[in-house]
């Protein structure tokens, strides 16, 4: 193989370990390294770079793009649906998103569609307040789809720019809960054929290979358009986004970097990849 002389077993193992320990996954890691080895001498640009540097280029190429969320605000309201497994950071991210848009001069309203978990609505009310957003809610135990229906019409009437929908955490293996999400989506579709304009999977950076199953499951039930990776202020590097991007073509819209309302940043591939390979 061309360029194989530039690779020794130790170098291969070192890169393999970095990628696997970043949760890129065994198979994707082997595929990435195979691609690198096969193209080692093949192009002029790559010729003078170390395998590690070429890996950085390849990961940047994979993860880059205009991101999941060109927040076009081309509809009023612009509807963003947040979904994901239990405890990933959805409710917190609702507040951060509202605050992010507020700083851009856009007012948000929030739909409290987690009507199941203890104190979910109370928690959301605090976060919406931090994001200067109005909350549309019903009683604990109400039908989440009914809350969403209500919220949309309320925002249509009152004129906020963005409607952010918080949903209950759910595991993708639970058929009935996935169906509940599909119903929320159908309700939005009927109110506005283009809604939800963004459906983002909120993914904990510590998630392992199950993250791929989550993305596939939520793609089916909620037609997710992208990801928000949370808790990147920890040591986990969120490498599962690489197989997700490769297999499902889902880009990353934002990253969460802490528990404060301004701990949200738009995705930057270079920064993300540098952290993956650190």
């Amino acid at each position: 193989l061309l360029g194989l002389s530039r690779w020794d077993a130790a170098e291969y193992e070192q890169l393999e370990e970095i990628l696997i320990s970043a949760d890129i996954g065994y198979d994707t890691t082997q595929q990435l390294l195979k691609t690198l080895m096969e193209t080692a001498g093949a192009n002029e640009i790559g010729a003078n770079l170390s395998p590690g540097e070429r890996l950085r280029l390849e990961l940047n190429r994979l993860l880059d793009g205009d991101g999941a969320s060109p927040h076009r605000f081309s509809a009023a309201p612009w509807v963003i649906l947040l979904v994901g497994v239990n405890g990933s950071g959805k409710t917190t991210t609702v507040g951060k998103l509202a605050y992010y848009f507020f700083q851009q001069g856009k007012r948000s309203a929030v739909a409290a569609a987690d009507t199941f978990r203890a104190a979910a609505i109370e928690q959301l009310e605090v976060w919406a307040g931090r994001g200067r957003a109005r909350v549309i809610r019903q009683a604990q135990g109400a039908d989440p789809a009914a809350v969403v229906f209500d919220a949309y019409n309320s925002v249509k009437a009152r004129g906020e720019d963005v409607l952010i929908v918080d949903t209950a955490g759910r595991l993708q293996a639970k058929q009935n809960l996935m169906e509940e999400l599909a119903k929320i989506r159908r309700v939005l579709n009927r109110l506005d054929a283009s809604a939800p304009h963004e459906a983002l999977l909120v993914l904990d950076a510590t998630t392992g290979q199950n993250g791929l199953s989550q993305a596939a499951g939520f793609l089916r039930s909620a037609s997710i358009t992208g990801l928000i990776v949370t808790k990147l202020d920890g040591t986990a590097r969120g490498g599962i986004v690489v197989p997700i991007r490769r297999q499902l073509e889902l880009p990353i819209a934002f990253i969460g970097l802490g528990e404060a309302v301004d701990d949200l940043q738009p995705f930057d591939a270079k920064v993300y990849v540098d952290a993956l390979l650190a």
Binding site: V85, G87, A118, E122, A173, T207, S213, K231, D233, T235
Partner: protein, 289 residues
């Protein structure tokens, strides 16, 4: 199916007296792939593979089962052993005995506090829950609501976890309750200030039991976070949550390996009844897929 994979893999072992080194090393390479795909952290996988290799190389080929089946048995038994012996009970000291629940953000501590309180009451205990998370919006409300659902009292409302514990201790003594489950705020293990708060809380409370709650779908980071928590605190047990999903649960091996502490319970759902005692053989089967 692990047995099928290994049948294909070690078909040529039949008729040989001993599992040869080459055969074993090929097989464990496959096991390493399976473990990594099941989210076992690299260091834990390496340690496990080394142990399996040693054990397998020392074995005579049995004639009653195929070499593939024999290899699978070695791996399965060794994994169940690694994951820990039979379920260890919760530790108690003098009443009211405190139990501390700690861990990263969102892993399931608050829900597990309520689940464990219910479990202990079913075992004849008189639990109190202390809402020791003063940071997260509506954290105390969350625990209070769960307490009301279960008919288990909750103390809350002070400005610090230590003050809430003191209030709870007084309440428990007055009411004749014999254990206090202390919920704490989620935190990142590299946040020095928050880890310091936790070690001060533990130093004050002196709990016979401190449980590290770990999300069952955690990937490679499991070793790092568990190691950091057990370096700063005296961890006495582990709880793996959200195992009602389809995550393989390799994090269980990682945290067991790095802390050496027993896995005491697993969380298998969002309801307060969804707490089970830990069975290493079941989890071994799940991890091996």
């Amino acid at each position: 199916e692990l047995t099928e994979k290994f049948e294909r893999f070690v078909r040529n072992l039949k008729g040989q007296g001993k599992l040869s080194e080459a055969n074993v090393r090929d097989t464990v390479r496959e096991v390493r792939r399976i473990l990594l795909e099941a989210d076992v952290s690299l260091p834990a996988a390496k340690s496990f593979i080394d142990a399996v290799t040693t054990k397998a190389l020392g074995q005579q080929v049995l004639t009653s089962i195929t070499p593939g089946q024999q290899m699978v048995k070695v791996i399965y038994d060794e994994l169940a052993q690694f994951l820990g012996g039979a379920s260890e009970p919760v530790r108690f000291g003098k009443s009211p005995s405190p139990i501390l629940l700690v861990g990263l953000n969102g892993v399931g501590k608050t829900t597990t506090t309520a689940k464990l309180a219910l479990y202990l009451r079913k075992k004849g205990r008189k639990p109190l829950m202390a809402a020791g998370d003063v940071r997260r919006p509506a954290a105390a409300e969350q625990l209070e609501i769960l307490g009301k659902q279960l008919g288990i009292p909750v103390v809350r409302g002070e400005s610090s976890p230590i003050k809430i514990f003191e209030k709870g201790y007084e309440f428990a003594r007055r009411e004749g309750l014999d254990c206090i489950l202390v919920d704490t705020a989620g935190r990142q293990h590299i946040d020095d200030e928050l880890m310091q708060e936790l070690s001060e809380l533990q130093a004050f409370v002196k709990p016979p039991e401190t449980l590290l709650v770990v999300d069952g779908m955690t990937g490679q980071d499991a070793v790092k976070s568990a190691q950091a928590f057990s370096a700063r605190l005296e961890i006495t047990g582990l709880i793996l949550t959200k195992l009602d999903g389809d995550a393989r649960g390799g994090a269980a091996l990682s945290v067991r390996y790095i802390t050496g502490k027993p896995i005491k319970f697993i969380g298998v759902g969002e309801k307060t009844a969804d707490l089970e005692a830990f069975h290493p053989d079941r989890l071994a089967g799940r991890i091996l897929g």
